[in-house]
C-alpha cells in the first residue's frame, strides 16, 4: 500500500511538471491555433539562462528566474516575428514544420554555446519535503511548489483571458482571425503577446522542471515538451484547466505503468494515451466540441 502511494506521489510530481509545460502549449494553441513544437526548447534555453546566472555568476535564485523569464520572453517574441509571422497565411502544416525546424535550431544553438556535456542544475527550492504517514511517504517541496505554481498560473491565465481587453482580443483572434481583424483587433500584436506570455511561462516551467530533475542538456526540453503536448491534447488542447488536469493524470499514468507493468514502457504508455484520446475523444477531457465550418 505504501509503495502504491509513494508511486502515486512520484506520478503527481512528474505530472505537475508536465502540467506547467502544457499550460504554455495550450495557451499558444488556443489563441494562435498553432502547435509550437519549439516550446520544449525554449524551456531548455530558460533553464540554461537560470543555470548561468546562478552557477557562473552566483546571483540569487530569484534573479536567475527573472533573467530567464526576460530572456525567454524576448526569445519567444523573436521566434514568432522571424519564423512564424511570415507564415501567417500559409497552411498549418508549413507552420508545424517550421516549428520543428526551430526546435532543432535551438537545440544545436545551445550545444554550440554551452557544449554537449550535461550540467547539473541546482534546485532553487530547498531540498527535502513533507513526511506523511509517519515518514513512510515523502512529498518533496519542489512538487508542492510546482503544483501551487501551476494552479496559480492556471487561475491568473483564465482571469487574464476572460477579463482583460487583451484577453478579449485573444478570444476574438482564436474564434475568427479574419473577423477580428475587420473589427479592429490588432491580430499580429495579439499573437505576439500570446507568445510572450507562453515563453515567460516556459521559463518558470524550466526552473521548476530542472529543480525536480536536474540534468540539463541541449536535448533536455524535447522529451518533456512532447509529453506535455500529449498532456495538453489529453486535457483538451486550448483549454487551460484541461492542460493542468491532463498533465497530472499523464504523470500518474506514466509512473503507475512503469511500476506495475514494465519500467521500460513508460514512454509507450504516454503515447498510447495520445493515440487513445485521438481515437475516442479527440477534443480531450475538457475540450470544447468544434463544429467544422463547411
Amino acid at each position: 500500500m505504501s509503495t502504491f502511494l509513494s508511486n502515486l506521489i512520484s506520478g503527481v510530481s512528474l505530472g505537475s511538471v508536465y502540467a506547467i509545460i502544457a499550460l504554455g502549449y495550450t495557451m499558444v494553441y488556443g489563441i494562435a491555433k498553432m502547435l509550437n513544437f519549439a516550446h520544449g526548447d525554449v524551456i531548455m534555453i530558460g533553464a540554461y539562462m537560470c543555470f548561468v546566472m546562478m552557477f557562473n555568476l552566483n546571483t540569487p535564485a530569484f534573479v536567475g528566474v527573472l533573467i530567464a523569464m526576460a530572456v525567454c520572453t524576448l526569445l519567444g517574441i523573436t521566434i514568432e516575428r522571424l519564423a512564424y509571422k511570415p507564415l501567417r497565411q500559409a497552411t498549418s502544416l508549413s507552420v508545424l514544420i517550421t516549428a520543428i525546424g526551430m526546435s532543432y535550431f535551438l537545440q544545436n544553438l545551445a550545444q554550440l554555446i554551452w557544449g554537449a556535456n550535461p550540467k547539473s542544475f541546482k534546485s532553487v527550492i530547498p531540498s527535502g519535503g513533507l513526511s506523511l504517514m509517519g515518514g513512510s511517504l515523502k512529498i518533496s517541496y519542489v512538487t508542492i511548489v510546482t503544483i501551487i505554481a501551476s494552479v496559480l498560473i492556471m487561475v491568473v491565465l483564465t482571469l487574464f483571458v476572460n477579463h482583460t481587453k487583451m484577453g478579449k482580443a485573444m478570444r476574438c483572434v482564436s474564434e475568427d482571425r479574419g473577423a477580428a481583424e475587420l473589427m479592429g483587433v490588432n491580430v499580429d500584436l495579439t499573437i505576439t503577446v500570446t507568445f510572450a506570455i507562453g515563453s515567460a511561462l516556459a521559463a518558470i516551467a524550466a526552473v521548476l522542471m530542472c529543480s525536480a530533475y536536474p540534468t540539463l542538456k541541449p536535448t533536455t526540453g524535447s522529451m518533456p515538451g512532447i509529453k506535455a503536448f500529449t498532456a495538453a491534447v489529453f486535457g483538451g488542447i486550448g483549454s487551460i484547466p484541461g492542460a493542468m488536469l491532463g498533465g497530472i493524470l499523464l504523470g500518474v499514468i506514466e509512473i503507475l505503468g512503469k511500476a506495475y507493468v514494465s519500467s521500460e514502457l513508460g514512454d509507450a504508455f504516454v503515447f498510447a494515451v495520445l493515440i487513445l484520446v485521438l481515437l475516442v475523444k479527440p477534443t480531450g477531457l475538457l475540450g470544447k466540441k468544434i463544429h467544422e465550418k463547411v
Binding site: A116, S120, K122, Y213, P214, T215, G266
Partner: protein, 380 residues
C-alpha cells in the same frame, strides 16, 4: 535574359566543381575517419572522441613527420546514419576508420568495413557484436563481457554488497551486454541479484523513482549501474532526494560523472567504479593530455576522449612501422594492420602494456576505484 541566367548557372556549376577540388589540397595527409554522435542525446560522448582525436592529430602533425587529416562525421548514435557517414568518408578517401563511438552504430559500420576490407579501430564501442567474426575490427576499450564479469568479481572480493539491484538501459547494446555478463558471473560466484527488471529505455529519461523504489522494496544494499554517466547523475540525485541509502557501483561509462558542471560530488561519495582512465592521475602523459584538452575545449576529458587519443597514437605508431603514407590504399592499410596489431604493445592513457588478440579485443587491467573527496581513489 535567358542567356544571362544560363551563363550565371554555368558559372555556378564551374565554381561547384572547383569547390570539390579545394578540399583535398592537403594531399600529403593520411586520412583517418572518425564517426560519432556529435549532436543529439549522445553528443557529449561523440564530441569528446572527435575533439581528442583531432587534438592528437594536431600534436602529431606539429612534429613535422607524417601528416594526418581527421574526417569527422556525425551519426547521432544511429546505425543507419553511421553507415551513411561511413560511405561519405570513403568517398573522401578515408584510409582507416578510428570509430565509431557507440556500439549499435559501430556494429553496422563494422559489417560494411569487413566487406570492403577497411581497417577499423574503435575507441569506445565495447559490444562483442562489433568485432565478432570480423578479423579487421579492433577495440581500444574493454569489451562489455570483460567488464560485467570483473564488476561481479570486484563486488564479491571486496564484499561490497549482499543484495544487488541493477538499473540498466535495455535499449542500449552497451548496457545490455554488461548486464548479461554481470548476471551470468554473479550466478556463478554466488552473488545475490535481487532486482533485474529495473530497466529504462532512453538515456534522456529523467525520472528514476520507479526503478529506485523497486530496489528499495527488494531490500537491495548495492545498486549496479552499467550505464553512462548522465543517467547515473540523475539516479544519484533522486536516490538522495527520496532518502535511499544505496551503495553504487558503476563501469567505465560512469567516468565523466564528477566533471559535470554543478554536480554535487558528495552524492557520489563512496561509490565504486571500474575505469581504465583517471583524469586526476599524476603521470606526465595524463597531466599533459588533461591540461591541453581543458585549454582547448574547456572541459575535463572523460574516458571516451582518452580512448580516442590512444586510438590515434596507436594508428600513428602503425603508420611509422608499416610505412603507410597518404598513397597507401585502404585495402593495403587493412592487410598490413591486422598482423601488426596482434604483435604490438601499447602503453597509453587508458592502460599499460595493452595487447590485442586475433579477435580484436584488447587485454588490459580494469582498475576499480572508489570515489573519495570528489576524486578517484584506489580501493586498497
Amino acid at each position: 535574359m535567358k542567356k544571362v541566367i544560363s551563363v550565371v548557372m554555368v558559372a555556378m556549376m564551374a565554381i561547384c566543381m572547383l569547390a570539390g577540388c579545394g578540399k583535398s589540397k592537403d594531399a600529403g595527409a593520411i586520412k583517418v575517419g572518425s564517426i560519432g554522435p556529435t549532436t543529439g542525446d549522445y553528443a557529449q560522448y561523440g564530441l569528446a572522441v572527435e575533439n581528442a582525436m583531432k587534438m592528437a592529430a594536431d600534436e602529431i602533425n606539429a612534429l613535422g613527420g607524417l601528416q594526418f587529416e581527421v574526417l569527422g562525421e556525425d551519426d547521432q548514435g544511429d546505425p543507419t546514419m553511421a553507415v551513411n557517414a561511413y560511405n561519405r568518408e570513403m568517398e573522401k578517401g578515408m584510409q582507416a576508420l578510428l570509430g565509431t563511438v557507440t556500439s549499435g552504430a559501430c556494429a553496422a559500420v563494422a559489417a560494411e568495413a569487413y566487406k570492403e576490407r577497411v581497417f577499423l579501430l574503435t575507441p569506445s564501442a565495447s559490444n562483442p557484436a562489433v568485432n565478432e567474426g570480423k578479423d579487421n575490427v579492433y577495440q581500444v576499450c574493454f569489451t562489455d563481457p570483460n567488464q560485467g564479469a570483473s564488476a561481479a568479481l570486484t563486488i564479491k572480493n571486496l564484499g561490497l554488497g549482499t543484495k544487488i539491484a541493477i538499473i540498466w538501459n535495455n535499449a542500449q547494446d552497451y548496457s545490455t551486454s554488461i548486464y548479461q555478463s554481470f548476471t551470468a558471473k554473479a550466478a556463478e560466484i554466488g552473488l545475490d541479484v535481487v532486482v533485474k527488471d529495473a530497466t529504462f529505455s532512453d538515456d534522456s529519461n529523467a525520472d528514476f523513482s520507479v526503478q529506485l523504489q523497486k530496489a528499495a522494496d527488494a531490500g537491495a544494499d548495492l545498486v549496479f549501474l552499467p550505464i553512462y554517466y548522465t543517467p547515473v547523475a540523475a539516479i544519484m540525485q533522486q536516490a538522495k532526494a527520496a532518502g535511499y541509502n544505496f551503495k553504487f557501483f558503476g563501469v567505465d561509462g560512469m567516468d565523466g560523472l564528477l566533471a559535470i558542471d554543478g554536480f554535487d560530488t558528495s552524492l557520489a561519495e563512496g561509490s565504486y567504479m571500474l575505469t581504465p582512465f583517471d583524469a586526476n592521475k599524476t603521470d606526465s602523459k595524463t597531466t599533459a593530455f588533461v591540461s591541453n584538452y581543458k585549454a582547448k575545449f574547456g572541459d575535463v576529458p572523460n574516458q571516451f576522449a582518452a580512448d580516442a587519443y590512444d586510438a590515434m597514437y596507436i594508428f600513428y605508431a602503425a603508420c611509422q612501422d608499416l610505412g603507410i603514407t597518404a598513397e597507401t590504399s585502404a585495402k593495403d592499410v587493412c592487410e598490413k594492420m591486422i598482423p601488426w596489431m596482434q604483435k604490438y604493445t601499447y602503453t597509453g592513457l587508458t592502460g599499460d602494456n595493452m595487447v590485442w588478440g586475433a579477435d580484436g579485443c584488447v587485454s588490459k587491467a580494469a582498475t576499480a576505484y572508489v570515489i573519495r573527496n570528489g576524486q578517484y581513489a584506489s580501493v586498497q
